[in-house]
Amino acid sequence: MTTSPAPQAPRFPAPGHAAPAHAPAEVHAHHGPQSFWTRYVFSTDHKTIAKQYLFTAAFMSIFAVGWSMLIRLQLAYPHNTWPILSSLFPGLYQDGVLLPERYLSLTTMHGTVMVFFVISLALVSGFGNFIIPLQVGAHDMAYPFLNALSYWTIVPACLLMMVSFFVPDGAASAGWTAYPPLSALAEAGSGLGQTIWLLAMAPFIASFTMGGLNFVATILNMRTRGMSLMRMPLTIWTLFYASVLGILTFPALTAAAIMLLLDRLGGTSFFLPAGLIVSGQVLPHQGGTPLLFQHLFWFLGHPEVYVLALPAIGIAFDVLAAFGRRPSFGYRNTVWSILAVSALGMIAWGHHMFTSGMNPYLGEYFSIVTVLITLPFSVIAINLVASLWRAEIRLHTPMLFALGLIAAIGVGGLGGLWLGTATSDMYLQDSYFVVGHFHFMIGVVTGFGIFAGTYYWFPKMFGRMMNETLGRVHFWLTTLGTFAAFMGMHFLGMGGYLRRIYDPTTYRYAQHQPLNVFISYALLLAALGQVLFAVNLFWSLFRGKRAGANPWDATTLEWTTESPAGHNNWETLPTVSRGPYEYRTDNAPAGFHPQGEVEAAG
């Protein structure tokens, strides 16, 4: 094939604009910064920032998983006492018994930290930062400094969240959704922890917005020559839509959070109706309504689900193609379906509010739109499965996780039908069916996306392979544990078992305690699997097998640079002349065509 050294195109031959003086390609010298601080800590290199995000997310996940273990312990053995836990966590336990209000703190913080500080950070910010410039063929993100700033904005947010456990009245306990009036009224039991929760969300939103702007600008403006939109790998597409959704919907949460903060601190009544009575006292608030908060919250909250799930699905598409050795099935259909899912996902939030006293006509509308999402989402799911059709599967760990992700989408997606329809949701609302469902969609699907991505790109990040055997054991422990637990939760919910109940034996109809015990042990198994993952991670960092530039024989651009990728990714940017998944082509000697060829320098 002919690769004539094309003259390097000016980056912005835009009408009338002289190329901006500080285009990032020129910001970086050809060798990276040398001192420890600029290289590893205050780096503006997208790969370093990505690793910072990923390790921060891993660090936060230790706490989030730990809290879930305490929750499961309480749910499995609500009447036992654990003196040792009293001495370990004096704020949470008293005389070996978990305090009921701290149980609510645990569920709140588990949800908040998992959604915003583990999955968002790892999947969107972490992998997004790492993979976007590498897969679109750019030297770095559009605005590297803003990128570093967005990471350093997230650090105080994480710290604030953790600190809230140590203030009087403990951490926020109004649920990750922070519904008023509970979250707005100190009289109703939400103390300083709730204020800190809101203050910690502010830098998170700022950081995520900065990151999202950078992602969108990079994906649109910084693609290398020949990387047309329909040649972008699906990871890039999903990250693009996730960023757009974030940019468009996070402001509503910002507005809601500001108003909630004013309700808490300024005594306003944005979300507080007249006639609230707390401990026999009529409160002076009047004129607001909690329904407004629910609308604003879920206007973000529902798209946030797609922000989290779509990148995981994108990673799965990349992994399925690379390890199935065949082009991703229905690439164009997938791209348009992701667009349809994102667009419909923005106007379907009301299915979280069917029992909120919402106008019933609205409920009908939201039901219909929610069920409509099934159409494009089924296309995506079918394309995932069909990507296995006549595949020559290489069953490495990333592939295992991608396959597990398909299964989880199947289970979670079917549960979604029940919850998206107003009639059946009336019964299932706030039950463990919901808990099981969203743990499949934004727990297992996203988690498996993160694991698939980690095993897949680890060689590109650190130049070493992760251990296969440990990886497989990790996969099976995680899959068995989570599927058993979250499927069990669906049955609990069908039995009428409600979420956020401190003592599951409170209600006479709830006679499923053995199932609760089973779920707890299943999740313990899954958590132990994560210990193996941590061991594998650190062992492979130092002892893993050295990886070549393209250890998986994959086609996308990131595999054309060395492992680990150097400071500027490429000396000369690669040029793209093909689609992202040209595996198993007849005339290719290696059996596949890499998407881009690196031009000869010069």
Partner: protein
């Protein structure tokens, strides 16, 4: 080539914007039927926003793709939020009475 608008255009538009504001104020004070007042003021508001966006912010000289991304992104999202919250606001109003 970047379109360079003449200074004169900006100041002609400035007069237009001021006039539109005066129209708004006069309409509000004139005590016309509510529907007319609302219609005129919203129309004047739209014209003002379009004028500022198109000429002052140079949007009319940008490519259609950028115009659509910005305008649709903002107004479709805000519109979705507005039209899906309003039925509940009205329902709350009926409840209050």
């Amino acid at each position: 080539m970047e379109h360079v608008t003449s200074y004169r255009t900006y100041w002609v538009l400035w007069v237009v914007l001021l006039l539109l504001t005066v129209i708004m104020l006069v309409t509000e004070a004139a005590g016309l039927p509510r529907l007319v007042t609302v219609g005129v003021i919203l129309l004047a508001m739209t014209v003002k926003v379009v004028t500022i966006g198109a000429w002052y912010m140079h949007l009319r000289y940008e490519r259609l793709s950028l115009i659509l991304s910005v305008v649709l992104g903002t107004f479709a999202t805000a519109g979705a939020l507005y039209f899906l919250l309003i039925p509940d606001g009205l329902a709350m109003h009926r409840l209050a009475q």
